[in-house]
């Protein structure tokens, strides 16, 4: 699949990236204006990774996501209004306002959830992969995580389980060069994080995370391997977050120049250039196609805000329900005492 030459694909990729961008710009703005509370982690600048990766997935495939998870959620097909409603702490949000940005999940599209715990989703992804395997299914699980997560024990244990059991999991590392303020240069003693993969006996590659095509290619490869029983792989996508880690970030640990140089490598602008013929390939989209994608993204986000704003606030009267799921049927063959 060539994203830059197949018009439908190109549009989907571009619209997805723009949707993530516009969604997060809106969120950033609402936080700044005090219309949202809590904290937030924006993936602006990193849109090509979830976009490319999720285009390599099919219906029924799973993902596990992170604290910086809006992009994964959108790329996997979530409803923007339910996402926005969640951030606005509405009863109509994906988590009925209980979870917020760090816990958005969309089980219907296979998104098993953002996670407030760095690397928390990694063993969970292995477990989902195990479930698929035990059921004899052909689904694949993509586990997203950041560079910082790779040094957590949970990451190590989760990856090893997937490796020894040949589970259908693709580990996608969004290496944006920092775990909060800790640069990969200080946190790792290796040049690429993909070097870690070898120690688990799984393939590892490092790719340009600002190009959805490259991400797609690497993840599609890995998905194919996983789906055909070849076990897990590790894909390191090099990218960058433009915004601070979260609200409280003063960006003391990186230079303005560095940020600027990465802004110049804007994944969306580069992709637009590529699809409209800036590259060597035949242009897949016209300028007006591009304009259409942009408008679609903008309108969707606006619509989501409108819908979400009109929804009822999360209801404190039902605060204590949903701590426990109601008992279902006993496992077949069971009789209650």
């Amino acid at each position: 699949m060539t994203l830059t030459t197949e018009a439908d694909r190109a549009k989907h990729a571009l619209t997805t990236m723009w949707t993530i961008r516009r969604f997060e710009e809106a969120v950033d703005d609402m936080f700044a204006r005090g219309l949202m509370h809590g904290t937030m982690h924006l993936s602006i600048g990193q849109e090509a990774v979830p976009t490319g990766a999720c285009m390599a997935l099919s219906e029924g495939d799973y993902i596990t996501s992170t604290h910086r998870g809006h992009g994964h959620c959108i790329a996997k097909g979530a409803k923007l209004d339910a996402m926005m409603a969640e951030l606005l702490a509405k009863e109509t949000g994906y988590c009925r306002g209980r979870g917020g940005s760090m816990h958005i999940a969309d089980v219907a599209t296979g998104n098993l959830g953002a996670n407030g715990i760095v690397a928390g989703g990694v063993p969970i992804a292995a477990g989902a992969g195990l479930a698929v395997r035990m059921r004899g299914g052909s689904e694949v699980v993509v586990s997203f995580f950041g560079d910082g997560a790779v040094n957590e024990g949970a990451w190590h244990e989760g990856v090893n389980l997937a490796a020894i059991w040949d589970l259908p999991v693709v580990f996608v590392c969004e290496n944006n060069r920092y775990g909060m303020s800790m640069s990969v240069d200080r946190a790792f003693n290796v040049d690429t994080l993909a070097e870690r993969a070898r120690g688990y006996g799984i393939p590892g590659v490092t790719v340009d995370g600002n190009d959805p095509q490259t991400v797609y290619d690497a993840v599609a490869d890995a998905v194919r391997r996983a789906r055909s029983g070849g076990g897990p792989s590790f894909v390191e996508a090099l990218t960058y977050r433009w915004k601070g880690h979260s609200k409280s970030d003063k960006n003391l640990y990186r230079t303005r120049e560095e940020i600027e140089s990465w802004r110049e490598r804007d994944p969306i602008a580069a992709f637009e250039a590529a699809v409209t013929g800036g590259g060597a390939t035949a242009p897949a989209l016209s300028e007006s196609d591009v304009e259409e994608c942009r408008a679609l993204a903008r309108d969707r986000v606006r619509e989501a805000i409108r819908t979400a704003n009109a929804a009822p606030d999360a209801d404190a009267a039902t605060l204590t329900d949903a701590v426990y799921a109601p008992a279902g049927e006993p496992i077949a063959g069971g009789t209650r005492a």
């Binding site: 988590c95 009925r96 063993p123 195990l130 949903a322 077949a332």
Partner: protein, 347 residues
């Protein structure tokens, strides 16, 4: 997902004489529960360190691997956090995992997946997903395994909303509570006790559930209510016999499920006897018996108390290696007798 409806064909030891009720050891009862659940439902599987060929560190899984294969009785590397995480993920994706942690002390390794993930996911997602995971782990002292292999950590789990916590004290409960735990769509921590594994008791052959959240009244008396958990239940019963010989009539209550706690049964009993002795193996400070004490004094039983609510607990020390020190570190039958008698005589 197919399920077989006949739960008995593939599982369970041979039936003993019809007249006397069949007895099993506590660990056989646990194994039978797992076998019946696995036979009944393909989604159920067991994973943990050495649960396969080895048969489990305490022999609990025994021959299950031969009956259900290495996929469903799954040996894992030594990585408790990963294992529990895998169970969380498998549960989210529709399976019914049972995790065995070799010693409950090693739940410390997995605490993030237990308390931050499994316990909270259903709530954090506004009810959109469930984590039907059962985590079994043996706790307790008495085997000379020292401080890192002997803890009683139920208070940690009982403090976490979203978890359920079960402490079976008999073979029948070991089976019946585990079956209920497997049925349950929410995570359940089942804390077995090492010293109980070899104790025998009558156990129904059928997969009969013991409901979560029901305190068992093991003995009824009029002078004092002894509430005990885990291995302390049998010690309390032995103490009650001796107290009876001494003219002190004790009720013995076994909460079995700490979360959700059936406090009503406890409160009713204390209201009737006017005295409560709360016995646990875990160190006293911050132990679960504090919670029971607090609930009693917040309840109407407060007005019926004829003596202070009294706890008899493990000392506030790590469990020592030396046998005589290890014994001294946790309540023994003598201690229960003395304390209960004192409570009745002094007040």
């Amino acid at each position: 997902m197919t399920t077989t409806s006949d739960t008995r064909s593939a599982v369970g030891p041979a039936v003993s004489a019809v007249a006397e009720p069949r007895t099993l050891t506590y660990s056989e009862a646990v194994r039978e529960a797992m076998a019946q659940a696995m036979a009944a439902d393909d989604r159920v599987f067991l994973l943990g360190e050495d649960v396969g060929t080895y048969g489990g560190a305490f022999g609990v899984s025994g021959d299950l691997v031969h009956r259900f294969g290495t996929e469903r009785v799954r040996d894992t590397p030594i990585s408790e956090l990963g294992i529990v995480g895998a169970a969380v993920g498998a549960g989210l994706a529709g399976m019914r995992p049972i995790v065995e942690i070799q010693f409950s002390d090693f739940t410390a390794q997995a605490m993030d997946q237990i308390a931050n993930q499994a316990a909270k996911i259903h709530f954090m997602l506004g009810g959109a997903a469930t984590v039907p995971m059962v985590l079994r782990a043996p706790g307790g002292s008495g085997t000379g395994a020292a401080a890192q292999h002997s803890q009683s950590l139920e208070a940690w789990f009982a403090h976490v909303p979203g978890l359920q916590v079960v402490m079976p004290s008999t073979a029948a409960d070991a089976k019946g509570l585990l079956l209920s735990a497997i049925d349950d769509p929410n995570p359940v921590i089942v804390l077995e006790h090492k010293l109980l594994y070899k104790q025998s008791g009558p156990v129904p052959e059928e997969p009969v559930r013991v409901r979560l959240g029901e305190t068992a009244v093991r003995r009824t008396g009029t002078d004092v209510t002894i509430v005990a958990t885990g291995v302390m239940v049998s010690r309390a019963l032995e103490a009650a016999e001796r107290l009876a010989a001494d003219g002190v009539s004790a009720s013995v209550l076994d909460p079995r499920t700490l979360r959700p706690l059936d406090d009503q049964t406890i409160v009713d009993s204390v209201a009737a006897t006017g005295r409560a002795l709360l016995v646990q193996e875990a160190p006293k400070t911050g132990g679960f018996m504090s919670e029971i004490a607090a609930r009693i004094v917040e309840s109407p039983a407060f007005g019926r108390l004829q003596a202070p609510v009294s706890r008899l607990c493990g000392l506030d020390v790590p469990i020592p290696y030396a046998p005589q020190l290890e014994q001294a570190a946790v309540p023994q039958v003598d201690d229960i007798v003395t304390k209960a008698a004192e409570l009745v005589r002094r007040w």
